[in-house]
Symmetry: C2
Subunit: 180 residues, 2 copies
């Protein structure tokens, strides 16, 4: 048996990307594409997504950005599907009935692109390693929070902080400390 | 009359201070003192407040930090007072019946220390010039948002960004562009 190489398991890296207002809102209205984020954030996100083997999003985010997401290996978390349904490169998954951990076996880099419940779900399940937060210099005082429906606190460490443009968009890169 | 000097009006500078989680929450529970903020944030706030001639807060914030606030010129915004009531160095003001602009005449530096409705109220009224946001490296997924009850967007410009400690607490200093 010594000629059989042990299959080396690829550790999947989950990277979440979110753009928020100073007061932590990721959208005013979930059903329209955000028009308040900077072009620097857009370019950053596109560049990052090129490195990803797959992206994860919620149903509403998928509907808003369907044209773009249909071209990727996209996993849509939705309770409207009983378990798993595939349509082209898009897989609809019910996180209540399917073990998400098995789903990404073999994927090296997975991008999480929201919304709030998906960020929270992936964080709860220990499937969020890198968190990239773009803070646009605006206060909304209303709208949808970046994470939502949580019941416990999650500590991060800051990897880097960067000013992205003249107006003062800031990019924060956080890492979840390894729990092992 | 030429010997009468014209009284030069002091322009009051309003500085808001807030500490939030990565997801923009300033508290999990309004009625207890936050125990998740860093000592660096605490020292920064204390140093800043020394420069202030007065502080503004809401009723709940006042009740939580009463011992400290009783020692300052404190203005407590509350609808439980019909107009203005003074008790020592603390003034209780109803923002619905009293014009806040007149209230701070002669004050040079006024600190706004929360909560969410007070930050929003002062911003709405054009009485928020500097915004200091400390972001602690933690995700709550629940709790009270930094600004609340807003109906319009307010743009800021970033003055500076600073890493405050090893864990990755970040201090962002924003300025409201002059509208004149």
């Amino acid at each position: 048996m010594r000629f059989l190489k042990k299959h080396k398991k690829v550790k999947t890296r989950f990277c979440a990307y979110l753009a928020e207002s100073i007061d932590g809102r990721i959208s005013l209205d979930s059903y329209t594409y955000p028009n308040w984020t900077s072009k620097e954030d857009w370019h950053f996100l596109q560049k990052e997504l090129k490195k990803m083997d797959a992206v994860v999003c919620g149903r509403v985010t998928y509907e808003v950005a369907q044209e773009r997401l249909d071209k990727r290996n996209t996993f849509v978390l939705t309770t409207k599907t009983s378990s798993i349904e595939k349509s082209g490169s898009v897989t609809f998954v019910n996180p209540k009935t399917v073990d998400l951990k098995n789903l990404f076996e073999g994927y090296k880099n997975v991008g999480i692109v929201g919304g709030a419940r998906v960020y929270q779900e992936m964080l709860n399940k220990g499937m969020l390693d890198d968190l990239y937060v773009t803070i646009e210099p605006i206060v909304f005082g209303r709208g949808r929070e970046a994470f939502f429906g949580g019941t416990e606190n999650f500590r991060f460490t800051l990897e880097s902080v960067k000013k992205m443009n003249k107006q003062g968009t800031v990019l924060l890169h956080y890492i979840r400390p390894n729990e092992n």
